[in-house]
Each structure stands twice: as C-alpha cells, then as structure tokens.
Symmetry: C2
Subunit: 212 residues, 2 copies
DNA sequence: TACACTAAGTGCATTGCTGCACTCAGTGCA
DNA sequence: TGCACTGAGTGCAGCAATGCACTTAGTGTA
C-alpha cells in the first residue's frame, strides 16, 4: 500500500466526507431532505466538488450503501476465518456458512444501510437493485472463502449453495425491513434471528421437507 | 468586508497557519531550529506552498513579528480611545500617552515578539531593524491618535514627543530583553514596569533635572 | 396554462496547492 | 582541499477544488 501524496489524500478524504455527510443528512431527514447545497456545507467542500466525485446525489447514497456493505463483508470475513473447517461435505459446508451468518452482527450495518432506502417503498425497483448488488457482493465473498477452505470442492456446488443462502438472506432483509422499519433494537434483532433461523433451517432440510 | 470565497479563505488560513507554526517552532527551538520541512508538516501544507506565500523563512519570522506588532497596536488603540482627553498642553499630552503606555499590556505580545529574535545577540543589526520597524509603527499610531484628539496641536511637537517616548521605549524593550530573556513572568513584568517608569519620569522631568 | 422559482447537474476557466527536479550555499569529514 | 550531504529556495507542470454561468427538470401559483 503506497503512501498517498497530499493530493490523493485530500481527494480521498473529501470523497469520504461527502459520503458520510450524505448518510447523516438522509438519516436525519430521509432522502428528500438531501440537497447538494447542504451536503456541500456539511462535507466542507464546494458544491461543484460533489459532482467532481459523483454523478448524482443518488450515486452518493449508493456509495454510502456500499460502504456499509463493506462493513458487513469485513465482519463476515473475520468470523469466517475464525470458524473451524469442516469435512468438506455439502452439509458441513452449509453448517460452516450458517455458523458464520449466525455469528456475524449483520443487523448493525444492515440497519444503517436500509435506512438509506426510501421508507415508503422498500420494494421498488431501484432500491431493490441496491439490495441485490449488496447480496451479490456478500455471495462472492462467501463463495471465495468456502473455496479457499475446501480446495476439492466443486465450484458449481459451492456457488449454488452460497447463492441459495444469500438469496434467502435477501428476502429476509427486505421482509425484516418492512416488518421492523430496519430499526436496531432488541425486538427487531429478535425478528431478524427468527427469520434467519427459518431460512437456514428450510435450506438445510430442503423444501421438500418443509412444514411437516 | 466582502465574504471570502473558499479559495481566498483557504489561502488566508494557510498563510496564517504557516506564520503560527513558525512562531511555535522558533519559540521551542530558536531560529536555528526552524526548517522548511518541519514547518510544512506542522502547518499542514506542502513545503512548496510555504514559498508560494513567503520568499524565505526569514520573511515568515518577520511576518510573525508584524502580527504580534498588530496586537500591540490594537491594544494601544483601545486603551488610547478609553483615555480622557486632556487640556492640550505638552505636559497633558505627555501624561495621556504615559497613561496609555502604562495601561497597555505590552509584555505579553512583546515577550512573544522578542522570543522570535535570536537569543544570542539581541543587538545585531538585522534584528535591531525589526525592533526599529515595530517602534516606528507604534510611534505613527500614537502620533495619529494624539493629533486626532488635539486638533490644535503642532504636529512637530507631537511627533517629537511621541518619537522621544517610543525611542525610549525601544531602549527599554531591548534592555528588558537582555535582562530577563523576554520571559513573561511576574519578575520580568516588574522589571518592565520599573524600566518604563524610569523612562517616563526622566522624559517628563527632562534630562537636565535627572538624578538630583 | 404559462411563468417563476428552485435545485440538480454540466461545462469551462481559474486558482492555489502540490510534486518533482533542480540549483546553490553551507557544513562536515576524510 | 575536495567531495558528499543537507536544506533553502526556484521553476515548471499537473491536479483537484473552486467559482460562475448555464441548462434542464420539477413544482407551485396565479
């Protein structure tokens, strides 16, 4: 990692300041409360600078999303690395991933992320795309981790496994958002755990055995 | 006073940061301790920027001197404006100025200024020029204030009066520097007051009556 | 319905900062 | 005494931020 010169450092810092300021404003007032002028003032840059870094206000919100996403990925990685390697069967790989998912604090960053979405219509196409993108990132990361641990595993199997899991997680996330408003409190966390358990159990036992 | 745009504001702030940082470094290590690299780091600008603003390191020290000078002038002005106007005789004008001088906290800024000078040789020509310049500024300011208050006063009389006073003050300042190292503490302040009293008394009573 | 206003976004020129390479002067050491 | 090193200062080009004017789209009001 090369040492940044002052220019690169300033550019990076300003980009970050814009993202952070946007997230704060949206958090306080919602998306309609985000204006370029106020964002510039809060980020301590000129308005023109905002558009030097980003094509639109919407893009900044997405960048905030991706940053929060990065937090989840980091957590996943740390927990995954601390999770014992199993036998390499499909079931043991599933259990490893399930363990990682359960052991990772997803609610904190997810709550922050989902609050960046419009509260009125969490299911609209644009925001759905954001959630999908996030899940693709997580999926890739998890698959890479599993393949790293199990050299002999068939990549297709792994990707199907991981894809199914994260697909289920995506549904959970949106369902949880609708149900709890993505607030971060003991009740919403209980709901999250319950929903996660449900999906993990269903996927582990298979859909053919569901709801005996 | 026009509102500065961000560029002008940054330029001003950087210039000031350089001056302040230089004063700090010199205060801690003396003039030989001032290097462009360290100054840049402390002022949080690039080294090249320093020379965008100033022609030399020496010029920065002088700028710091002039800034401290500005503080003295401001104090003088404030105290002078709060001092009652006398009858307009030479004696009363002298007393007004003497009152201003006594009522003004000169030691604080002067201590800071003199510490910017080389501690080894406070009397060398280059630094002497700085002190002279400072006294000329004060002298001009005082003379202007006296003439403002006394429209009927002869400018020559006023300038002789003020010039003699500030000349005497200059000697006091350097003598005080040699004697106390320009440190700012109760002892050095007592020395300052004693020296000032001495000069004021001598000038008020005249040299012919000194040391009865 | 037309107009005025507001705010996002764009184009372009300017500004001050910055990086880099260089010169010069001073210093220390073999 | 010559050389290597260090640090102040200089020249020049590039960079990112900035200012400013403009366009476009959306909204509200008469």
């Amino acid at each position: 990692m090369a040492i940044q010169d002052r220019r690169a450092a300033l550019k990076t810092a300003n980009r970050h300041a814009i993202i952070v300021a946007a997230a704060q404003i949206v958090s306080e007032r919602g998306l309609p409360g985000l204006t370029a002028d106020e964002l510039a003032a809060r980020a301590d840059v000129s308005r023109r600078t905002i558009f030097n870094h980003f094509g639109s206000l919407d893009e900044i919100v997405t960048a905030g999303f991706i940053e929060a996403m990065g937090v989840i990925v980091e957590e996943f990685t740390a927990v995954a690395e601390a999770t014992p390697v199993g036998e390499g069967t499909a079931a043991s790989m599933f259990d490893e991933i399930a363990q990682v998912i359960r052991a990772t604090d997803i609610v904190t960053p997810l709550s922050r992320m989902l609050r960046l979405l419009s509260p009125e219509d969490p299911m609209d196409a644009h925001q759905d795309a954001r959630v999908r993108e996030s899940l693709r990132i997580i999926s890739d990361r998890l698959a890479a981790e599993v393949l790293r641990r199990h050299h002999g595993a068939d990549p297709l199997d792994v990707n199907v496994l991981v894809g199914s899991l994260t697909g289920g997680l995506g549904v959970v996330a949106l369902h949880w958002h609708v149900r709890t408003g993505a607030s971060d409190d003991p009740e919403s966390r209980a709901v999250w755990d319950e929903l996660v358990d449900r999906v993990l159990t269903t996927l582990r036992d298979g859909f053919g055995r569901a709801r005996d």
